[in-house]
Symmetry: C2
Subunit: 302 residues, 2 copies
């Protein structure tokens, strides 16, 4: 293969994804694993990175650029936040050098917002990637996941953003709460999902009393496990959409995230009379990391 | 002490409480422990009961009456549900006999509601206790806890009810979610609680985007751990109240539950222009178990 030029890593709460790239930005190798911040101590990050690069046969002369929770206070090395509104071409310039790494490693900053208080780490790099691919992009970006972000983008900058813990709530309710007894298999029901979206749209404040009804519907009725799971998903995504109406009303939302999850958001937006389009998340992430690396490359020794 | 006549047990999801009573209903001994359904296999219940009674020196000739999750499908022995609307003087008559117990043990039925689907196990006995103490009671009963119940009571009967998983959600968010990093101590702020109640009342649909703000408020602002904990509690209780407005509007709510938690609900109701009164939960529970036992005593052999 051609000579590796740099390593790009999206290092999140629950997992990490790594690409090895040549000087033209072509991917030479890639890997991923469940080595997220929540599973690591700060002292583990360097070892995990080197183990993965050893397996790929990458020498220590190749520098790495990282985005995401590796830069959090509980991560590898705390990277500062840019403050929204903020242009994203500053992202590479804001990277910090990790001192206890056995190669050149830099972590990109996150973005914070003072009022209402909010933070992101990783999504800013994906939005930078979108802007790298579509420089004049302006509009609303939704990044569904553990902590779904809604971001208003204009003039190459993040203007404002919101966070909803929808993914983390779905994981809790479906795996650890009393509702988990009603979701013993991984089935799905489109009609139950759509009905739940409509319920949430009609009366978003009713969510607290609708959640337990998922369990009760199985105990006293004929609800299936597939219906229960889809109802939970629809109620949570529906309630999220209602809480961020000001973001998507009269907009076409650009969705960046896992394709199955993005399709659910697309369906939900459609039922609420809005529209969206799904982008390819790997391409966007890699584009953002590459743009930040290129902007910052003069700081790397190799 | 005078001769034990019967044993009353409130056996819930997370713990159990047991009283030994004489023929006049006077408490001779009592105990409790973390032996809830979620910590036990069905085959454990009999052993746990006997171990606790052995420690109190109670012979096997004394019968026991039990309410709560011991009667759930995952409990000791499944007890049927009464169907709301239902009078509660039927509670004792609906008790089932446990076949694999080394003494006479009966478990009281729960109550189900077909539409909207709902279930309770244990709270019906507390409401029966309230009706035993105040036979002409009519109005709204709120039983705050892991799964808070809102119950409309009239003519000695449960007319209808709702369930909100507020306690389970608070436990998840404060102990296991990303918000737990902002609640490392157990402090409290009355003003943060009140502000959160007002936020929930003003815009109950906004909850999804307000939760993560608790974490962000600590990362980018000056929020304390005490403020974070009280804000989470206020948002969840406030959102619950907004979802069951039809229960408390123009009513005085009778609260049955742990006193600290009942006081929070009382405060929240007050901020929403409603009123409530707190009852003594042990007295109510014991009254319900005693009434059910006395109604059913002809079925016991001793």
């Amino acid at each position: 293969m051609s000579h590796p030029s740099f390593i790009a890593v999206d290092w999140g709460t629950s997992g990490f994804r790594l690409w090895v790239l040549d000087a033209c930005g072509k991917t030479l190798a890639e890997t991923d694993g469940p080595f997220g911040m929540s599973n690591l101590e700060p002292s583990d990050f360097g070892r995990v990175l080197e183990e993965n690069l050893n397996e790929l046969g990458i020498g220590q002369d190749v520098p790495a650029i990282i985005c995401g929770m590796a830069g959090a206070a509980q991560g590898w090395c705390e990277a500062p936040y840019l403050t929204a509104p903020t242009r994203l071409d500053k992202l590479g310039a804001g990277a910090i050098r990790v001192s206890d790494a056995s190669r050149e490693v830099r972590i990109l900053p996150g973005v914070k917002q003072q009022s209402p208080a909010n933070v992101m780490r990783g999504e800013e790099t994906q939005i930078a990637g979108l802007l790298h691919l579509v420089p004049d992009f302006r509009g609303i970006v939704c990044l569904p996941g553990t902590h779904t972000k809604w971001v208003r983008v204009a003039d190459g900058a993040i203007i404002e953003f919101e966070t909803c813990m929808t993914g983390e709530q779905f994981a809790f309710f479906s795996r650890a709460s009393v509702l988990s007894h009603s979701m013993v298999n991984h089935g799905w029901s489109d009609s139950a999902f759509e009905a739940a979206i409509r319920l949430a749209a009609d009366d978003p404040a009713a969510l607290p009393r609708r959640l337990f009804a998922i369990r009760a519907g199985m105990l006293v009725g004929k609800q299936t496990s597939a219906q229960a799971r889809a109802t939970l998903s629809g109620l949570l995504i529906g309630q999220e959409l209602m809480s961020v109406r000001q973001y998507w009303t009269d907009q076409t939302v650009t969705l960046i995230g896992a394709s199955t999850l993005c399709e659910l958001y697309l369906t939900a937006l459609g039922f609420m009379g809005a529209s969206g389009r799904v982008t390819e998340v790997s391409e966007i992430t890699l584009s953002g990391l590459t743009a930040a690396y290129q902007h910052q490359r003069r700081c790397f020794s190799s």
